[in-house]
Symmetry: C2
Subunit: 154 residues, 2 copies
DNA sequence: CAATTGTATACCCCGTTAGTATTGAATGCG
DNA sequence: CGCATTCAATACTAACGGGGTATACAATTG
């Protein structure tokens, strides 16, 4: 668990393909084809991506979608947030958080710290990073190298 | 989004309290009281925690639950996994992952790397860490300090 | 103006989450 | 030995949200 929704997953995949094409445009049905996703689903995802200014759309013949920025400047955090809204591990972490217990919960103000770190990891991983790293190798951006050392407790 | 389920959230809260009591035992209704959670819900959570060997239970008069290890040796990853199963951002990341697209998805083997990092963060954050850090201050375990620097791209 | 392509809305189904109730088993004490 | 206490196991229900689909609309281009 701790899943990202499928639509967000799709979004990353689509962005990845748009990145490889950039700056060329890709029509919606082409996207559906190349990603092997059903077209109606692609429609829904594209709306999110346009609204979040991650892709630029053009209508009419020879229209389609184009990644708004170089892949190195699009983070996974943005991609996920475009579809699912701000990243928040728990209710306490979200802006309009409405947790029943909040007032009397000892951890209500501790979670945001944990959340911040997870978000940072996703912010520091770009579409280009996804591309760069080998298959099944753990992706480790430079500032995170130490993370992969054996865990200290347990 | 990127939420952790409420039950997992509860689990962490409960573990936190058990940690503060350790090595004393705490009965289920006491747990419900101190956490302000409904008792039937606590019942459900406790089952997960026992099955995962994170707490030890004792029956009969003066029974109750006890944290199995010192709080510094219980990670958030374990707590969450106890309730929700192995952490997996996407289908590709889980053992029995059954993703429709998997064979033809260009990212199927990239996600696990990202997942690994997120998991590491949660593995490196213990119950004790939650306790140690001040309110609303981002919690930053030593090997993660560099993370909080400004993001490089975007 | 007509073909192409994206936009917007509204709908529904299904799974999961979360909350609850009930009955059963173990422990310890007098 | 038996009763009080406390955890264990199972099964059920309600509700919400994710995700998939259909359909009608608007813009651009040649």
């Amino acid at each position: 668990m701790l899943k990202v929704g499928r639509l967000a997953d799709y979004a990353v995949l689509i962005l990845h393909h748009l990145g490889r094409m950039r700056p060329a445009r890709l029509a919606m049905d082409s996207i559906a084809e190349v990603t092997h996703l059903p077209l109606p689903t692609v429609r829904k995802v594209m709306k999110y991506l346009v609204d979040a200014d991650l892709v630029i759309s053009k209508r009419g013949p020879n229209g389609g979608y184009q990644l708004a920025r170089p892949p190195a400047q699009v983070s996974l955090a943005e991609a996920i947030a475009a579809v699912e809204g701000p990243l928040a591990l728990t209710e306490c972490c979200s802006a309009q958080g409405n947790c029943e217990i909040h007032d009397r919960c000892d951890l209500a103000d501790r979670w945001p710290g944990v959340n911040a770190i997870v978000v940072k990891v996703l912010e520091r991983t770009s579409l280009a990073d996804l591309d760069r790293f080998g298959r099944h190798e753990p992706h480790v951006p430079p500032p995170l190298r130490e993370l992969m050392a054996p865990v200290r407790h347990l």
